[in-house]
Symmetry: C2
């Protein structure tokens, strides 16, 4: 398959997939620093540090950083999530060395200049404002906080205006030193490249990062709860969730299949019943978000104030019916979707680099296609019924933004779920 994995002296893992027919490369650094790494005083610092990485280094101004990559037609970006900060570039294959040089420079030697920090804090405040303005995005932050109240894993990645404004140059520098450590970093690349060259370049440009292990995360404990915000928009944005398995859990693959059958596509139960049969919403789907040690399932729906009255009971009824089991045809369809998705991931350098990085972070190696296909094959309808029963017995998480006067509370939903399950077993 052309996949290779090497550990550098400082603990950085370098993984690649050679795709010799490609002229381009996707290259990224996955750093184990995100909302989960932060104390409450550090809220938002991972994301702010990601911004500051682009604001100049010992060797390059902010303009130099951007120009160096774009002068060869490349693109550069970064993203901070609950458990990772990722810096990535898309380049033509001859520019691999440049890509590692720049990525290494911005994470090993960012200036963190105080004047630049003040400007960038203002940029992030605008980013927070823009995120707040999009109710369909904002509701996800409310959801995560309600699922994991009072925990780092539940805090928003972006931070609050107050928390972001409070971080100083020294705070950023300390956070960088503690969390940007070899053992927590994965370099992943896919495309027209040679692994040996990638490893050498990673050693040259990232070898100076400390070999100390980054601090452990507090284990995430799914709790469930509720977060509501009435807002004068046209559509109510509603998320309803339950506890789900972690990446490492043996039911991980079953959980993906469960979510696909419930709300993973146009043939899924939620789409067919709520949109096709009843016309109650434009957007309806389910999601499964695994983390290294915990996970959540959720359902997203956007609908009008009036339609909430019909939508909620139908959603709860569909959830309940999942505990009665799924059909063999549904399971086979969901398996076909997962299989095809895996094959298509192998054809996209960006998707493949991200998948390999995740595998290395969770499993310490890249799972083979055969191995993943075997896990998919092994899941039965009985596995899904068991997963459904366990999942839907957990405390619900409800988050909603918009005209939500007719939306029941999480407690009422929990009571209805229990009632429906009991009735189903009479």
């Amino acid at each position: 398959m052309g996949v290779a994995l090497t550990k550098l002296a400082n603990g950085i893992r370098v993984v690649s997939h050679r795709m010799p027919h490609l002229e381009s490369i996707a290259l990224g650094l996955w750093v184990g620093a995100g909302a989960r790494s932060e104390t409450s005083a550090e809220h938002g610092i991972s994301h702010l540090l990601e911004h500051m990485a682009f604001k100049g280094t010992g060797r390059r101004s902010a303009r130099d950083i951007a120009e160096s990559i774009e002068a060869v037609g490349g693109e550069m970006n970064a993203e901070t999530t609950v458990d990772n900060t990722t810096y990535y570039v898309r380049l033509l294959k001859d520019d691999l060395a440049l890509g590692l040089d720049v990525l290494g420079d911005i994470i090993c030697d960012p200036l963190l200049d105080a004047d630049e920090l003040a400007l960038e804090q203002h940029v992030v405040l605008q980013e927070i404002g823009a995120a707040y303005d999009v109710a369909e995005d904002w509701v996800f932050d409310l959801f995560q906080e309600a699922a994991y109240p009072g925990q780092a894993i539940g805090r928003s990645v972006i931070g609050t205006p107050d928390s972001v404004s409070a971080h100083t140059r020294d705070d950023l520098s300390r956070f960088l030193q503690r969390h940007y450590c070899g053992p927590g970093i994965v370099v992943a690349a896919a495309g027209g490249l040679e692994h040996e060259e990638l490893v050498q370049l990673a050693e040259t440009h990232l070898g100076r990062l400390p070999a100390a292990a980054p601090p452990d995360w507090e284990t995430g404990r799914y709790q469930g709860g509720e977060s509501r915000e009435t807002r004068p928009v046209k559509e109510a944005q509603i998320l309803l969730g339950f506890a789900g398995p972690s990446y490492a859990d043996p039911t991980f693959t079953a959980a993906h299949l469960f979510s696909a059958i419930l709300g993973g596509g146009m043939a899924s139960r939620l789409f067919q019943e709520l949109r096709e049969e009843r016309g109650l919403c434009y957007s309806i789907y389910s999601f499964f978000w695994p983390f290294s040690d915990t996970g959540v399932f959720g359902i997203q729906a956007a609908t009008s104030e009036e339609d909430i009255k019909e939508l909620v009971p139908v959603v709860l009824s569909e959830l309940k019916q999942m505990t009665d089991g799924v059909t063999e045809a549904e399971l086979q369809r969901a398996k076909a979707q997962l299989r095809a998705g895996l094959l298509m991931t192998l054809e996209s350098p960006i998707a493949r680099a991200g998948q390999m990085a995740r595998h290395v972070l969770i499993h310490g190696r890249v799972l083979s296609l055969e191995e993943t296909l075997a896990k998919i094959d092994a899941v039965t309808t009985a596995d899904l019924a068991e997963l459904a029963a366990r999942t839907l017995a957990s405390a619900p998480t409800l988050a909603a933004v918009g005209p939500i006067a007719h939306l029941p509370s999480a407690e009422e939903i929990a009571a209805q779920m229990v009632g429906q399950r009991q009735m189903a077993h009479v």
Copy 2:
């Protein structure tokens, strides 16, 4: 290159790019029906018809349509724009025949059932509500209407609640018959496929569409103007635009380079000056939207109510400076971005299918990589200065949503642009 183009007896053009190393296919039907095709009474009908195509045919229920594609792990979707309705599938390579069967079925033989129509009109009303709620998207509809007032090309794709609710089964059927005609349709596919098989399947499943030419569009005339909506959100969403060239215009490539230099990436003038140097906004970029017969340039900025006061003069100053010319280094960087983007498009079946369809619709053939690269090479800094002068002399289009009390009017902006240009030539 493995590219082939065939015209069927009814005028449908079938274009493909064989990528023998891929296990997957991207396949789409580009139909020449969109907002531009509609009379004012038909506003939103292209998009509503796109929705109804999925709601059942003579042979398949809505559920059958979804299940047929998802049972083999495929994905199906559709999109309506100003000038096209596109139906597309992502499939593994053995499922090409299924893909054409289903796509052919839904566009040749949709039931357009009246009960389903009533449900789907309700779904589209929710989609309109959701679109309205996202100010950063909604502002684009205001912009298009202000640039092309009173013309079909300026009307929103999605329609209004009133227009969408008014369309009947007969309206849809008539629109389908007039606009879903062979000469206006392109079938484009890329991935692990054989052209001959694709052509045969297209003949089988789309050969029955009429060979009559669809009605001509009214020529789009860029006019410029203003559309503002005060709304209590945190960020003001601002678009400022000018007349740009069409797809067929000889300055098309120069226009892409102009936009890239002005606001096309992190090294662009707008990003460097407004975000990096001044921290005035999180989101700032420029765009170039060509159509077959007209085009627009624009600048997008999102910023807070207070920061508008500083942002607008700086944006206008940056625009004015474009008429003083760009540096050779800027031009070379923009060229490198366009070249790398072209090479990466050739590696992505979805992007490649879309690019080929556009080429066939505009030029009647697929432009070769060499030909496009030669056009990029030929553009000079003098071309850009000339384009800038012509562009910025056109009447501005201003659209804005949010806390925009401090935003000047389009007239004031036009006056400032003239003033700045005159001063620059003293």
